[in-house]
Symmetry: C2
């Protein structure tokens, strides 16, 4: 498939790398290509700058959001939550495209652990769906470390990936990608329509506290049923 | 131990029953004993009225919050979230006591799935701790169906119970109770101080959506680490 990955950070790089490994045609979208390529330092989490990444991934190109989206049937939205709507707006006409939305509404502005800028009676997933009603949003993968998103078997035990979205066909396409990543059918839990993103985005506060308590982000939530 | 269970609903009954089985001295606290005993119908979830429960549990008595708390070293707070602070206020002097807080800030007033009346940058656990600064609050067990709280082995696989609280000794007492219920050391995750209740209370939105999607409340979240 032609897939555009929006976002040049650790999540975008992990998804682009893995999708290209799986022989998809991958382009990475960014707001300003030149600015993105000018970065020479790793980010706060140690992720190398996108220019470095591209040197090691000759088949992946960096384009503006609009250029990246043009031929893509699936857009992987891996920007910061606060930049998600703007990135989609800059991408031009997206009607009919599928967006695999991995974003979370994290607000880092107050210092300490981030809070959520959309929560409880709304979600970023719903807000994006409302802003782009003719785009097929599927929220998934937003509840774990990016290394596990694209390689769930690395965990060494089964865990859960949630799926939220209004369109069954779009969810089917996303589930297909999840399976390519290595997710088992029994690990994929379709929660229902896009309002269920309130549930998965609300895993961030507990994710952050498990991470703080254990000093280890290499975990995932499992819905344990004994089966 | 002398344990007072505040709350006459399904959670209170499950905890009182199990603690009495484990040979603790258990009293149940309620706002108005007479009113509670006058109920003759099961609640919306099919939980029998407290009068019915007491007939089958001769060693457990129903008392006012204040009477129940008087001799208790541990109070199990299993009221509705919205009634929690009032119940503790009616209980009189609680300084120095341990409160195992199982409540969640669920707001059912809007219809549909409940939202949270405390979330994101606060939690009910913190609010109660702030309202009763000399009480040792330990938030735990609030992230699952009550049958699993008191009998985690029934699930047939390991899962996670979280613990949040400011006082290490109080958390130790609660962890002791968890182990009596059957929780393994490896399943008990101490997240830190009471502010981490923001994390566990935020599991309710996802709990509710897993329940809605699967029509099955007999599950628990597990922090899966592959170990």
């Amino acid at each position: 498939m032609n897939i555009a990955v929006f976002g040049t950070g650790s999540v975008g790089q992990a998804l682009a790398n893995r999708l290209a490994e799986l022989s998809h045609q991958v382009v990475i979208g960014t707001r300003n290509v030149e600015n993105s390529l000018q970065k020479t330092q790793p980010d706060g989490m140690g992720t190398p700058p996108i220019g470095e990444f591209l040197k090691n991934h000759a088949h992946i190109s960096l384009q503006t959001f609009a250029d990246a989206a043009k031929d893509a049937s699936v857009i992987v939205l891996a920007t910061k939550g606060q930049g998600a709507q703007e990135a989609l707006s800059e991408a031009g006409k997206l009607d009919g495209k599928i967006v695999l939305d991995i974003t979370n509404p994290l607000d880092f502005s107050k210092g300490g652990l981030p809070t959520l800028f959309a929560s409880n009676d709304t979600s970023l997933g719903e807000q994006l769906q409302a802003a782009f009603p003719n785009v097929y949003f599927v929220k998934s993968l937003n509840t774990m470390y990016n290394g596990l998103m694209v390689n769930p078997r690395a965990l060494g035990e089964d865990s859960t990936v949630f799926v939220s979205g209004n369109d069954a066909t779009a969810k089917g396409v996303v589930v297909g990608i999840l399976k390519e990543f290595g997710w088992k059918d029994s690990e994929i839990l379709d929660l229902g329509d896009i309002t269920t993103a309130r549930g998965t985005e609300s895993l961030l506060p507990i994710w952050l506290r498990v991470y703080s308590a254990t000093k280890n982000g290499f975990f995932n939530f499992k819905v344990a049923t004994g089966k």
